[in-house]
Symmetry: C2
Subunit: 486 residues, 2 copies
């Protein structure tokens, strides 16, 4: 389950300075002072206009299980300065988040730069210690979720999208986090089995080139028969060879270029998984070999009553090839009167970026797109700069000025409202001080967008974006199925 | 220990198609056929001329513990097609790497594109199942290690480098992997406590802006006395105030701009850790406040016999400020005759990239550089494209052609030799077929660099880069302290 997975985030996975600061607070007797930190980012990622907030579930599980073991404390004793009072380690040993309360926008919410996403309130030393871990859990989750949403927008609503970036992800957990939050951001499936296991995301996949190239001849195919859906075994190799000659004739192919080793691979897969036949057809040559071998095996499957699934293209001009492949499918369907060929899907993979995804909206016949590297590593901008800033201590607003004016912070606790117009569309996220009266539907309101003149707006509807999700150590809202709120 | 950490890489952290392929091999009775895969990348990262191979330790621990639990197998039963023969799950349940042998270049080796880094030999179904996990463990480790090496080259050999990217890393483990392998690549320290705990990397850190901005007045400072190194307690606040007036006079500062809340933060830290005083001095203004407060506290510490450590700059023009800060340190040293001020270090942090690191070689006084986002996420190129390609089955060389010629593979098992010239410098990595005779020192040799004409070279020394590191399920070479072989 998710909890056992998330127990991997130990409280030592943080920066050393959190402990030296916690010590100085403790030494000064300030560790119990009520403090409030705010989590936000300064710029939308990928040069875009929005982000998706994600990682809240992970944060809540982290907070819930936050405590230091004897082993943790022993290690801290060895790395903190020798001047550290031994009683501080006793204090750490007894620490948990029972004094911490978190208000947050819901998992999967569309959010914007400079608007607070999460407010963490509790004893100064504790909420200080949480900083790095919370940022680590929110930053990448939100980044990769936002990236997935951009791929989804580029792909349009109907194309099916498969995340398959595990091998290029930034570490094993980078891959797991990617699979989880790209699903929240709009991907349908993942290749990552562990993500299916832990998070219930549908998994997909059939074969790689190595499978195809591992075969050398038809001698390797076993079993050599396949039962019809009604049960009678048929010599599947001979049947496929007959279909291959029909297809070769129809397409005027050069029989010498059709690779028997590839055919052996396809046959072996088909006899193993006759209901799930979707081979990769470009291990050698799509036009001269892979497509012909696919059609032959698929036609044989159809004859025995099975529905072949489709093909995967993994190199070259994917759009052009998909058009060629579809044309052949239609030709076979018509010539051999096989309606099952109308339902074949074409899957495309090969270093797809957000831009190349958008280009797939040109003429093509691709039904499913698999995306790896650019999706999971967020090539265009591989980090989201969420920060965690102190805004209040003992009821007093705090701020940071800076040599860089844009790194200054806005002091005080905030409330965030999403204002919706008469047309049902949100038009403004309003940040107020927590102490200010909340805006009211139908009541005109002055607001001051950053860098613009003030203006008066009248919301038809007002939603408070913050929810109290963690109250004095207890998870309040259990997010079951995170949804991307478009 | 490392083993308990690495047990987090479960064998389900792989692509689904590895299982569908393994099933098809098993069904055809081919699962035990001896097969060889090769791991390599096609282009050096960051547009550079080299990479550092890393992640081998993780791979060996993964291979050593590779097996499926009942729970894993139950999950696979639920996601593989219903046609899957139940006996296959029994087969998976009994699987391990006892038939697998790995040859590899050593951890931390300088390596080049298209040269095999690792050769994995074993039963076809098993070595197929290992693909995604091994790639995931090598790709990011090698990428971030190479990135660290580039930062180290840009920084020069003497500047101390601190990795502090955890909060921006791609997931919790992305951060841990980054801390580990940037240390291999040439970083001295990390802020990541868990990385210190698991891998023994020295950890560093003192305070953040939130610590400074949490203070509002000198009333919050406690204890208000500090003992001299000989033991007598002194009113540390009064002492520092005297020094502050001296420093203000010397630097002709405007007393009204010196922030007492910042002074309170520095004092509180100094009384807690008098031997480890290194505050961040730009929470408000370096020149008008932070630097003066630092000097006052540091001079008071010196008077009591302590050595203050230095300052951290986290915004603005780091080079220019470091020069200003050093000038003030020298002025104080001279005017107050405090030799301890000669040893103060200046640490700089603030979104350092490889390029801005190189620019730090202009006039500046920075001793220590902390690097986060650009280091750990490898902004310039956030993924290394290592691939894992089948090169031999049952003694027969295998290759993949492709619609993209550069995605074709070189068939057959290889040997890799590093050729060293008479001057002691390596000049060529030679890839041969495994069956070919190895090159001999002093014997002229024809070689054919990719894309160039052949030429004849005479190595003074020949090193075989591959070592057998895993033999039939057993780790052969335990890599203790990985070193970056420049």
């Amino acid at each position: 389950d998710i909890v056992s997975n998330l127990q991997r985030v130990p409280p030592l996975l943080t920066d050393l300075y959190q402990f030296t600061m916690a010590y100085a607070y403790w030494r000064a007797g300030r560790h119990q002072e009520p403090a409030v930190f705010e989590l936000f980012f300064r710029d939308n990622p990928f040069g875009g206009g929005f982000s998706i907030f994600a990682g809240l579930d992970d944060c809540l599980l982290f907070l819930q299980s936050f405590h230091f073991t004897d082993e943790d404390v022993d290690f801290l004793r060895s790395v903190l300065p020798p001047a550290t009072d031994p009683a501080f380690f006793q204090f750490l040993r007894g620490l948990d988040c029972s004094g911490v309360t978190v208000r947050s926008v819901p998992e999967g919410t569309l959010v914007f730069a400079r608007v607070p996403l999460m407010e963490v309130e509790g004893p100064l030393a504790v909420v200080q210690l949480l900083e790095t871990s919370l940022l680590c859990l929110v930053n990448y989750a939100s980044l990769v979720c936002s990236n997935a949403a951009r791929f989804r927008l580029a792909a349009g609503p109907s194309r099916r999208l498969v995340e398959m970036g595990l091998r290029r992800a930034q570490g094993p957990d980078g891959g797991l986090t990617a699979s989880r939050y790209t699903h929240v951001g709009g991907f349908d499936l993942t290749s990552n089995v562990q993500a299916g296991f832990l998070f219930g995301i549908p998994v997909a996949g059939t074969m790689a080139h190595s499978y195809v190239t591992s075969f050398t001849s038809l001698e390797e195919v076993y079993p050599r028969t396949l039962a019809t859906v009604n049960g009678d075994p048929v010599d599947f190799i001979s049947l496929t060879k007959v279909w291959l000659s029909h297809v070769s004739g129809l397409l005027e192919a050069e029989p010498g270029k059709i690779r028997e080793d590839e055919l052996a691979a396809f046959l072996s897969y088909a006899v193993s998984y006759p209901h799930n036949f979707l081979p990769v057809i470009d291990s050698y040559s799509v036009g001269c070999s892979g497509l012909l071998n696919f059609c032959a095996v698929a036609l044989a499957l159809c004859e025995l009553g099975y529905q072949p699934v489709g093909v995967r293209l993994d190199s070259g001009d994917l759009c052009r090839q998909s058009v060629d492949v579809r044309r052949v499918f239609r030709l076979c369907r018509k010539h051999f009167s096989i309606p099952a060929f109308d339902s074949l899907i074409i899957m495309a993979t090969n270093n797809i970026s957000e831009q190349s995804m958008a280009e797939l909206n040109k003429k093509n016949e691709i039904d499913v797109v698999g995306v790896g590297t650019h999706l999971v590593t967020c090539t265009k901008q591989p980090s989201l700069g969420c920060v965690y800033k102190l805004v209040e201590v003992r009821g007093r607003p705090r701020m940071k000025s800076s040599e860089d004016p844009e790194k200054s912070t806005v002091p005080g606790r905030k409330a965030v409202y999403r204002l919706v117009g008469a047309d049902g569309h949100a038009f403004l996220d309003l940040v107020c001080l927590g102490a200010e009266a909340s805006p009211q539907a139908g009541v005109p309101l002055s607001c001051f967008p950053l860098g613009c003149d003030g203006s008066v707006v009248t919301p038809a509807q007002v939603t408070c974006l913050f929810q109290e999700v963690f109250t004095k150590g207890q998870v309040r809202v259990v997010m079951t199925a995170p949804t991307f709120i478009y």
